[in-house]
């Protein structure tokens, strides 16, 4: 018997060991879904709604059932298909195992639940009536123990078992936007929250975790709006060799953390933390069998999961253009992972993107507002906010250049560097000739020396020989010792970059191209209106011909509106038609297409799902600002997709349709007065009521550049053949070469 137990223990250890493979954070790539794709991701929403309606819900009448199942399923599927959800990865497996333990005595309930991760920096977890529990990477990155995860899951499982979604669902059918439906999935009344807390404690206690971790979970939730750690940001962080940042650019005070437990919760769906803690403490007191277990699956594994979540938070911030947060997270993580290529790549991307946003006067979007500055990260945000355009460009150049020089063989960093230099060359705020050939220290020393020398009288001949223009030039020259100004610190410490011939050549090459474009622009501006029109037409015709022979088609979207609101069921059906239309028309136009579509996931499986997620994430990132040509965060994965499909061209498409007869009461009245007009007015109004807009974007995966965009507006319904005809028209032209 003892032998058998020992064997089982060894087997269990081996099993855990096989499941728990250590993550190589030095060569980390973003978390991807693994294993068999769950049905939640492959089944069409309409089918889910029909199946749920068939099963019914006792507490709802027929109309409420329809509204509820339609509302929840479409909202959940929007999350599932957002490109942010992952399954079967280390994090999902981990929380599933914690849930296994929580529900080890209720296999029936366990079998009803699925646990997925959302790549989002919002700290959140929520369950749905369909039995899906979502946990964000933001929440995982903040937690300090497995027990805290267990309590969060116990709370969410209680929402599910108590059917809180059904009870709090808003059954109104009008004026409800999809985004409201999604938000409402994690919003219950305060009573429901207290009930879930209470039942959560019961489930948590039964699983044998430590009581102390419950209260600390509430602390985690309260401070989860802050970065995942509070580490002092040293003001010397950016000083390197000859590059120096004046301390005046950093805040002279600490920014206190403002969160309090007893905040006013009258407008909040959740009770405040103080009330929740008090209620939880009462509930905790009703149990006496508490343990001190905080980590059942091991602390090492917990930390690894949390680190994955923290690594993901950097990527999430870059996608959301929150570069101040991204740099602070990198700063914290690089202490433990100084050799992580992932962090270096993310850092290079962040600096480049910051430079692009600053150039467009949009950097305030990427850094916290002054009113939001709190805690240790405030130092970095404050500094980034204080930097002038010129200073930020110099600092970003310093950072990107250093990352490239120390990792010259890294393809991604090289690509960032190459794009950076290209964008830098086109940046009118940056003048290479203004940059000093000295380090900050050398310039400062020369200045001191020159100051001493200036006490000596200047010889008359020297003054006479210097022309007015030489004097002006001399005043503008940063290398002139007497011109040294420490507030223009950004002109110094880039001397090694200036001396780098490869940099100079790359810069000059790109500058020449920008100059050529500027000249072309000037010539265009000199054209007459008629000439401009002809030029635009010719240019448009030229730009439409992309010579595409193969194309990755990402899930075409359709929005069909009815009375101003999206008709989800009709939209889903039309999406299927649109997808088929693209495939058929592309073939006719001689273009081979590869569909990356949620409708084909049942056959394409997890690989197809991951590809789709990466591509959707890319669009999300680009969509943040159409003026800025951002570097794609998943550069390497996109390159891989490009290599796998044999093309880097990807198409995103959208159709919007609404039927609204163009007939008004005043129009009818007027046409009745002018009698014969009625016979024209009414039919024209009816026949021209169908409004369809079809948009298509072609992107290049490797550069992240938008190659072309076409928008069609037509007075017809969005049926397969109609859409197909327009798609054919677009693709036929795109298939042609100039």
């Amino acid at each position: 018997m003892i032998k058998l137990k020992l064997s089982l223990s060894i087997f269990s250890l081996l099993s855990i060991g096989a499941l728990f493979s250590q993550v190589d954070f030095n060569n980390y790539t973003t978390a991807k879904s693994k294993g068999k794709i769950p049905v939640d991701f492959t089944k069409q929403t309409y089918t889910k709604v029909q199946e749920d309606i068939k099963k019914g819900k006792e507490e709802l009448n027929q109309n409420q059932e329809r509204v509820f199942f339609e509302g929840t399923n479409y909202a959940i599927d929007e999350i599932l298909h957002s490109g942010l959800v992952i399954y079967g990865d280390e994090m999902s497996n981990y929380i599933s195992e914690v849930a296994d333990h929580l529900l080890r005595n209720d296999s029936d309930l366990r079998s009803q639940l699925r646990f997925y991760i959302i790549k989002s920096n919002a700290s959140n977890a929520f369950s749905t009536d369909q039995g899906i529990v979502f946990v964000t990477t933001g929440l995982l990155s903040q937690l300090t123990s497995e027990a805290q995860i267990a309590y969060v899951l116990a709370h969410e499982i209680s929402h599910y078992t108590e059917k809180h979604v059904v009870e709090t669902f808003d059954y109104k059918t009008k004026g409800y936007r999809q985004s409201d439906r999604i938000a409402s999935l994690s919003q219950y009344s305060k009573d429901k929250e207290f009930e879930a807390d209470k039942l959560g404690v019961k489930l948590y206690n039964a699983a044998g975790y430590s009581e102390e971790e419950i209260i600390s979970t509430f602390d985690v939730l309260m401070y989860s709006y802050l970065p995942f750690d509070e580490v002092v940001f040293p003001i010397s962080y950016f000083n390197k060799d000859g590059f120096y940042i004046p301390t005046t650019l950093f805040p002279s005070k600490k920014y206190e953390i403002k969160a309090i437990e007893d905040y006013d919760d009258s407008n909040s769906s959740h009770p405040n933390i103080k009330k929740r803690k008090e209620a939880a403490e009462i509930e905790i007191g009703t149990y006496s069998n508490w343990t001190d277990v905080t980590q059942r699956l091991g602390e090492e594994r917990f930390k690894e999961i949390r680190n994955i979540a923290r690594f993901e938070s950097v990527r999430n911030d870059i996608i959301d253009n929150q570069y101040g947060n991204a740099l602070y997270s990198i700063f914290i993580l690089e202490k433990d992972f100084p050799n992580s290529m992932y962090l270096k790549r993310m850092k290079a991307q962040t600096w480049m993107n910051l430079m692009l946003y600053k150039a467009e006067n949009k950097s305030s979007q990427t850094i916290q507002k002054t009113s939001e500055l709190e805690g240790e990260s405030a130092t970095l945000h404050f500094f980034l906010k204080k930097l002038s355009k010129e200073a930020l460009i110099s600092l970003s150049l310093r950072q990107v250049y250093d990352l490239y020089k120390s990792n010259p063989n890294d393809e991604e960093i090289k690509a960032v560097y190459t794009k950076y230099v290209k964008d830098l060359a086109g940046n009118s705020q940056f003048k290479l000739e203004k940059i000093s050939k000295k380090s900050f220290n050398d310039a400062a020393q020369d200045f001191v020396k020159a100051s001493k020398d200036s006490i000596k009288p200047i010889e008359k001949d020297t003054v006479a020989k210097t022309s007015k223009y030489d004097k002006i030039k001399s005043k503008k020259n940063a290398d002139n010792p007497s011109n040294f100004d420490s507030s223009k610190f950004y002109l110094y410490g880039l001397n090694d970059i200036l001396d780098d011939k490869l940099f100079s050549d790359l810069y000059a090459e790109n500058k020449a191209e920008w100059d050529r474009l500027d000249k072309e622009k000037e010539e265009y501006n000199a054209l007459s209106k008629k000439e401009k029109k002809a030029y635009n037409k010719a240019k448009a015709a030229e730009s439409e011909k992309l010579g595409i022979k193969e194309l990755i088609v990402v899930e075409p979207m359709v929005l069909s509106y009815k009375h101003g609101e999206v008709d989800n069921i009709k939209s889903e059906k039309l999406e299927s038609d649109f997808s088929e239309a693209i495939e058929s028309s592309a073939e006719l136009a001689g273009i081979k297409t590869y569909s990356v579509d949620s409708r084909t996931l049942a056959t394409k499986g997890t690989q197809g799902y991951n590809e789709r997620s990466i591509l959707i994430n890319m669009l999300n990132q680009i969509a943040a600002d159409e003026d800025i040509n951002i570097f794609p965060v998943d550069y390497q994965l996109l390159k891989q997709i490009s290599a796998d499909y044999g093309t880097s061209k990807v198409m995103f498409s959208l159709v919007e349709h609404e039927y609204s007869a163009n007939i008004s009461a005043s129009g009818v009245l007027s046409s009745v007065i002018i009698y014969p007009i009625l016979f024209i007015y009414v039919p024209v109004g009816i026949l021209s009521g169908s409004n369809t807009e079809m948009n298509m974007l072609i992107l290049d995966l490797e550069s992240g550049k938008i190659e072309n965009g076409v928008s069609y507006y037509f007075k017809d319904s969005p049926k397969k053949l109609q859409l197909g005809a327009h798609v054919y028209d677009i693709l036929k032209t795109m298939g042609e070469s100039n």
Binding site: S82, K537, N620, L654, P683, V684, F714, Y728
Partner: protein, 274 residues
């Protein structure tokens, strides 16, 4: 998230210009419409000088309005641009006209009588060159289009076997005999001397072509026409030895009026795209 992307795609694309290159409907630009058309001659029925229309019901004449005019069109066209097409419409309309029974008929043996005549069938042949246009990013021939045309319409009475009845002017009574144009001594309408009524036609049509396959479309819409041209016999014809000529001319006038008052047709058909 989805809304975010949607907004982006919509907004971003508006920054691109559009070359208007025309690749046709699935690569095809020639099209032939085959249409059947019908109308209820509302205005013609109510504004025609003749108060009543008559139709043969067995061997008697009964009062009846002209309820349905029909026709067909064959239209061959070419999409010059994605929103501009040229076409030529050919077709025939089939209608009936009411004859004013107050028109005197000078027949030798009766001298001066009125005729209650069955409505006369009219066949109109039209030729209309057309210009077809749509919104800038349309893809003709598919979808909603507006057509403008200017052509000619030739209308002629059809020489069928009609029934008519003679009213004695002096007594105001109907003669008991019911005549048929095929076996009567005197046919009130002289088809041999009938002049073709010519009208110029100004056309506007609202046309919707909905694809059924990649080379076939369902076609429907409304045609509005204005028939221009003077009434051919704008005077009373006095007796000139030919007792039927006056009546024939009044029929020509009735046809002309009928054309002028017919200005709307609904149509359905098929479009072949070649």
């Amino acid at each position: 998230m989805k809304t975010y992307i949607i907004l982006f795609i919509s907004l971003f694309i508006s920054t691109f210009s559009f070359s208007q290159k025309n690749n046709g409907y699935y690569g095809k630009r020639f099209f032939v419409d085959l249409e059947g058309l019908a109308n209820y001659p509302l205005f013609s029925n109510f504004l025609n000088e003749a108060q009543y229309g008559y139709k043969a019901d067995g061997k008697k004449l009964v009062t009846k309005n002209d309820n349905l005019n029909t026709g067909f069109r064959i239209n061959a066209g070419y999409a010059v641009k994605r929103n501009l097409g040229l076409s030529l419409e050919f077709g025939q309309d089939y209608s009936s006209v009411k004859i004013d029974n107050s028109e005197p008929l000078y027949i030798a043996q009766y001298y001066n009588v009125y005729v209650k005549h069955e409505m006369i069938d009219v066949k109109t042949t039209v030729f209309i060159p057309k210009l077809e246009f749509a919104t800038s990013k349309a893809l003709l021939p598919m979808g909603l289009s507006h057509q403008l045309g200017f052509g000619v319409a030739y209308s002629k009475a059809v020489d069928n076997d009609y029934l008519y009845q003679i009213i004695d002017y002096s007594t105001g009574n109907y003669a008991p005999t019911l005549y048929s144009t095929s076996n009567s001594d005197v046919d009130p309408v002289n088809f041999n001397k009938f002049k073709t009524v010519k009208k110029f036609v100004l056309l506007y049509a609202l046309n919707m072509r909905t694809p059924i396959t990649k080379s076939l479309m369902f076609n429907y819409g409304i045609k509005y026409t204005i028939n221009i041209g003077k009434t051919p016999n704008d005077y009373y014809y006095s007796y000139s030895g030919d007792p039927t000529l006056s009546y024939t001319r009044s029929v020509e006038n009735a046809i002309a009026r009928h054309r002028s008052l017919s200005f709307m047709n609904a149509f359905v058909g098929l479009t072949l795209v070649l």
